[in-house]
Amino acid sequence: MRPSVAVDLGGGLTLAHPVVAASGCLGSGRDVPALVDLHRLAAVVTRSLTRAPSKGAPTTRAAETASGFLSWVGLQNPGVEEFVEVDLPRLTRFGTPVIASIAGSTLDEYVRMASWLHVQPGISGLEIYLGTPDHERRGDPFFSHLERIREVVGTVSRLSRVPVFVKLPALLPDLVATARACVRDGAHGLTLIDAVPGLAVDAGRLRSKLAGPVGGLSGPAIKPIALAAVYRVSSALPDVPIMGVGGIATGEDGVEFLLAGATAVQVGTAMLVNPSAPVEIARGILTYLKDKGIGSPAELRGRLRVRGDEEAPGRADDDGMPGGTAAGRTGSVPWGSTP
């Protein structure tokens, strides 16, 4: 890769190119197959680690949906200690920056895991996963209570010497406000988006295709949803590093996320289908930059042009008809406020 595709995520985290392996899609770390060219990835995010080992969800754990992949792995992982002992040394051998994803079930667990991980040689960043049930809030996922997000993010960010990214789901109507709060509380950057809750039904057998009633939807189906989330948050927080993730499979997809406001991108499902996807995506981004004569991925960031920027969509409708602009004025944009 030419140096010009390097991206600076800030906090000392510079990547050789903008394409990172997403959490949960790279095996256990100890036995990544050679087909995934580990040393050519810009960075890897580990599967989300829990304090103690977790066996994860019962089977069946996955289903195929239209241009999507629905899965519920339930965070099967060796636990943070065994990860540091067994997986991390093998991962770091490749010289690729490792970002550890942490999934606590109490504030204390987040703190213990972060304290243990951030000082490990080879750990270049932390990613806070907030989808785990919060045992101090009746099992609601952490992301469902803003004050819990802030406690976790604030505490972890204060203690960590490596940059902390917070992974947010798209389905928060107050996504921008939440993102802003995370940054105010010390988060270095954001990862957008987590898999989207979905259900697949086996009509023939009258049952859920997965062992549970819900899984996370990933893959090309969710790309527009992820792009919208990245665009919204990066428009509101243009200086905050964002890793965009959701359905990225080609160089063009990668470019789309950079244009929408991502600093780097993560690749999950595409890697399952095509283990060299991240490398191909990085190459595709480079080709695009060359073709367009653009100097670096950073110059793409937030360059997305939208008709609404130039001409308020509201005004387009305003031809003096009473109320005719009800929907038009702010464009009936189906999302929440961006305070």
Partner: protein, 290 residues
Amino acid sequence: MKRVRAEVLNTRRHGAYHSITIVAPEVAERVRPGQFLSIGMPEGRSFLLRRHFSIHQASRRGGWAGTLEFIFDPAGAGTSWLAEVKSHQYLDVIGPLGKAFAYPTKLNTCLLVSEGYGAAPIYFLAQELRARGKRVDMIVGGDNADLVFKAIEGKRLSQTISIMTGDGSLGDQGNVLDAFPGMLEATEAQVVYAAAKRSTLRALADVCIERQIPSQMAVEELMGCGIGLCFTCVVPVIRKDGSGFDNLRACTDGPVFNPARILWDRWMGDEPRLEPTPPEGFPVIGAWPG
């Protein structure tokens, strides 16, 4: 494990099954029975995931050197697409994948049980066992004659064979389970190998465990990647030391498992037939004879 763009040499029909032979010398040279291939789907489709097929034949010598054959019964979107693939097209192939059947060193009489396309890896295994001087007997089943894969090949490969069809259109009427106890006794089998649907494997396993006959079975679980990345394909397998179980990836730690170590109830929790989880003292036959 290699990834290759493999040319399709040949496509054929055997009853309900389609067979595809590809040219993939890098893969063929290391293949053993029980291992499988992963085939990438074309672009622009609504189905993304790779499809997985047991290796039926690997030719390492002769005119067909470097070729691999797999078979399938077109059912869903991916196999229907594969059924349209023509000679000289190229497929995105990863293989060989997974752990193969182990060959017994001391024991000599092997009963091989297969249902449907399960015959694909089982016939391959039969060849290899015979090449090692083992006695091979078989039970081959299918819903009807069309779904019994190459019965003649089965006969050629085995000392004795029992063919079972659901409708009695070939061999005897019934399923492979009906023939199993009888064949076990008739052949005095010392080892059992099987590839069949989950409920069949489980029933076979029950008999093997009860009679303390060592066995190996190739299981199927939906695979998100086939190469160990996603942990969607896991099977709950009791640890060798009996200290609990681990959710092992069928794609890398399987698909061949010792059925005595599978926690069947837990694994089959999503099957209509739900039973209480096994008692603590679930029998574990630890060491594989070989």
